[in-house]
Symmetry: C2
Subunit: 482 residues, 2 copies
């Protein structure tokens, strides 16, 4: 291709077919921009592709999210009818816009959140509208000079007060959205009241369009595959409980596993991390759940707050499992034969603890009082006691002192100074840690049991019909049934 040798510096490429190509440097600035653009486009395409892949996985993992999107589209299409159908348009005119706006702003993933926003929006609009009209009437009487001053001052005062109320935790939890809508409506009414003559007409139209929007949202969200915040919370709590049981199982199995078994328990062990981080989700769900009407097995006044307490007690356990998990990765490990000796006792204690957790899961899933939770707790406590006894009966006949009591402690204190042969206490240390953490975890599981029993009392769970549920019935199946 390069037919004559040019005098300037050239880059040549020898192509396999025998010819050689001259690489023409791209012409200056334009070339650079082109290369830059191509690079940018490449990055953008890559990012978009990654986001799309991500979206695909999210949709596959939880098809209800896709359904939610369809529901939003549906609600918006229905509300558009107000524009397309002439008779409706004649009634509402441009104000139908408020119905569209309401649907977009109010439609949320869970029924509870939608209810929360709808009720807040309607009440706040009504209150602010009434107040706005009232102040407008007062201002009307005070003459043209005072009117803007009265209106401006009232907007300033009410907006500031409502904004401040959003900082109060109890208001924020229930009426945050309402406070915003209050400010919005009040400002709009009192400000536009200055110009628009038909103020009552405006207020009435706005209220009725908002009512249409909210009732449409409530209908669509409740009729088509409703997602109840309460159910989600219920589900999250017993799922977290199972994850905790799995983590505990994974950690103990991993710690005492023979070197030969290469089963990867890592994923199973990490479940407790979800529990550690689920506080915010639990709280928002509990907040939304109390707006929900009776649905399925949940009454309007279901004790959702108690779920938060169960969640807190689960997190309490999770903190311990976190520490247990760090023991596993610690460098110093107890000598094999000692571990073997403790292995069976520890595994027993952990499996009984897990049994208790699984029984609690069944209690929550079935919403029936368990008849044999006391037995299982007793078994757990017995296993833990055995474990503690095993620790006590470590070959420590001469450990610290041969006798107990005050005398011994004195001897001990003197012994400290005299000790010259550091013994392999460090070798048992990790084991002692694991055992004491197991004891602590069992104690904290006791806290979970109490919280769940309190829930059973508050929500008036009935006693399970079958006194002795089949032991080999897998929990997973029960969860799936639910």
């Amino acid at each position: 291709m390069a037919k004559k040798a040019s005098s300037r510096l050239e880059w040549r490429i020898n192509v396999p077919d025998g010819t050689s190509k001259v690489l023409e440097p791209e012409s200056g600035v334009v070339g650079k921009i082109w290369v830059g653009l191509k690079g940018c486009m490449g990055i953008i395409v890559l990012k978009v592709r990654r986001v799309l892949e991500n979206a695909w996985h999210i949709g596959v993992a939880d098809p209800r999210k896709v359904i939610h999107c369809i529901k939003v589209g549906l609600a918006l299409s229905i509300v558009s009818l107000f524009y397309y159908m002439r008779p409706l348009y004649d009634d509402f005119g441009g104000n139908a816009m408020w119905a569209v706006m309401t649907v977009v702003v109010v439609f949320e993933y869970t029924v509870g959140a939608t209810f929360y926003k709808c009720i807040n929006r309607v009440i706040a609009t009504f209150l602010a509208g009434a107040l706005g009209v009232g102040i407008h009437l007062v201002a009307e009487q005070s003459g043209d000079q005072l009117k803007p001053i009265i209106l401006g001052t009232s907007v300033f005062l009410f907006a500031s007060a409502a904004t401040f109320s959003r900082f109060i935790p109890s208001v924020k939890a229930r009426f945050d959205y309402g406070a915003m809508i209050f400010i919005l409506t009040f400002s709009l009414v009192s400000v536009s009241g200055y110009r628009v003559v038909e103020l009552f007409e405006l207020a009435h139209l706005r209220l009725s369009t908002i009512a249409i929007g909210t009732s449409l949202c409530i209908l669509v969200t409740m009729l088509f595959c409703p997602v109840w915040a309460g159910c989600e919370l219920h589900h999250l709590i017993h799922q977290n409980m199972e994850k905790l049981a799995d983590s505990l199982d994974g950690c103990v199995t991993e710690y005492f596993k023979e070197d030969g078994s290469e089963k990867d328990l890592n994923k199973k062990m990490q479940g407790y991390k979800c529990v550690l981080n689920s506080k915010a989700a639990e709280e928002s769900m509990a907040n939304f759940a109390r707006w929900e009407p009776t649905h399925g097995r949940f009454n309007f006044r279901h004790p959702w707050k108690q779920y938060l307490k169960i969640g807190a007690s689960l997190r309490n356990c999770a903190y311990c499992i976190e520490t247990l998990n760090s023991c596993i990765s610690s460098e110093i490990q107890a000598p094999p034969c000692l571990r073997k000796h403790f292995s069976s006792k520890c595994m027993k204690a952990s499996s009984y603890s897990i049994n208790v957790l699984k029984e609690l899961v069944i209690t929550i899933v079935k919403m029936k009082k368990s008849s044999n939770i006391d037995v299982k707790v007793a078994e757990m406590n017995f296993a833990v006691e055995e474990l503690v006894d095993a620790l006590k009966s470590l070959p420590t006949t001469h450990f610290i002192a041969t006798t107990t009591g005050e005398e011994s402690t004195k001897a001990k204190a003197e012994g400290v100074e005299g000790s010259e042969h550091p013994s392999p206490i460090m070798k048992v240390l990790p084991l002692v840690k694991v055992v004491s953490l197991m004891v602590e975890i069992a104690t904290r599981i006791g806290g979970v049991v109490n919280a769940v029993e309190e829930l059973a009392r508050l929500a008036e769970f009935k006693a399970a019909k079958d006194g002795k549920p089949k032991q080999n019935q897998p929990t997973d199946k029960l969860v799936a049934d639910h």
Copy 2:
């Protein structure tokens, strides 16, 4: 007052002035309602009073919240001018409403959050407006029959897609609000475009009013006592670090305190709980902080994400302190003389650990590389090693076995079976737990040190001028200065 004795049953009260009153039973239903109403009013008054007291405390604790409320009122009053001043009204007319709405919806507590909402709102409105007008033009060409179908389908599709995008974590973190505004504007434009002839006019007016609203918000939020999300995050992180140091100090002091000292350390000890629960706050602040322009000592591209990592490492420490805290309240305690022996070593290790944390606090507050963090870490590690050595040299000459190595472990295993005198190992157990937790905490503080050093590298902290800051300079003062 009761002049004649009636035949029916009466309640009499002897009033101090000598007369006696007949208590007339309140007349039936009305009376009951009245009592009920009074009860309700009492409860409401009590609740309102409690909320007001609460509000007062919030205002006193953080006056910036009060200032924020005044700022919102101010911004709304300014935007109301559009209505009160005739020339401006003539330009924008009823569309000035959008400016009011923008101010109410967009104005947030921190500058970052306001920026996030403003930028999202403007871009989303622009994109959705352009798309809506485009689709409207296409629909216009397709005849009156197809037009509503095209418009309706496009609303359905885009609304569904935008709703789904809000489930993708990366989109949710940055563009959640934008997606909502996109749906809103797109629906409004494409739906109202069906009726309103001057579509371009509408789009132009809406964009300009929104621009006015957002720029007003940005001006007010930045000019009057701005609250920067970045500063808040920075502050939260070093505050949490201090709380952690205090908790550690409190726990160790409480555990080893003489029975005589009745100092209440409970409040100090509970600081770690804030650290456990601050994840959500940190994440939202980091999300907002990256929208903020350069301010104070923070550049536009300040590594806010690294703060999240520091936060995570702090929480990691807090988990351990949580377990340590539960050791303190445990019933079994080590014998006093043993505790006394360990007391000084443990206190030393804890105080060196606290020193490291305090040095990190100074590093973050001053935003200067510490010249003696390495020394402090070395001191901490040395103190921890001493502690471990003390544990090793417990009077355990006969503990487990007299020799170390494989041989001993065998002897041990046999010893287990033969042990008949359970020794007071349980008495040292809590102490061993505390010591091993101290070791673990020191390791995790190492993680915090690494995270802070990474921050210093990323944010290009300069080296501190004074190589040896005065040791007795209180950290609190530095924080107050900042």
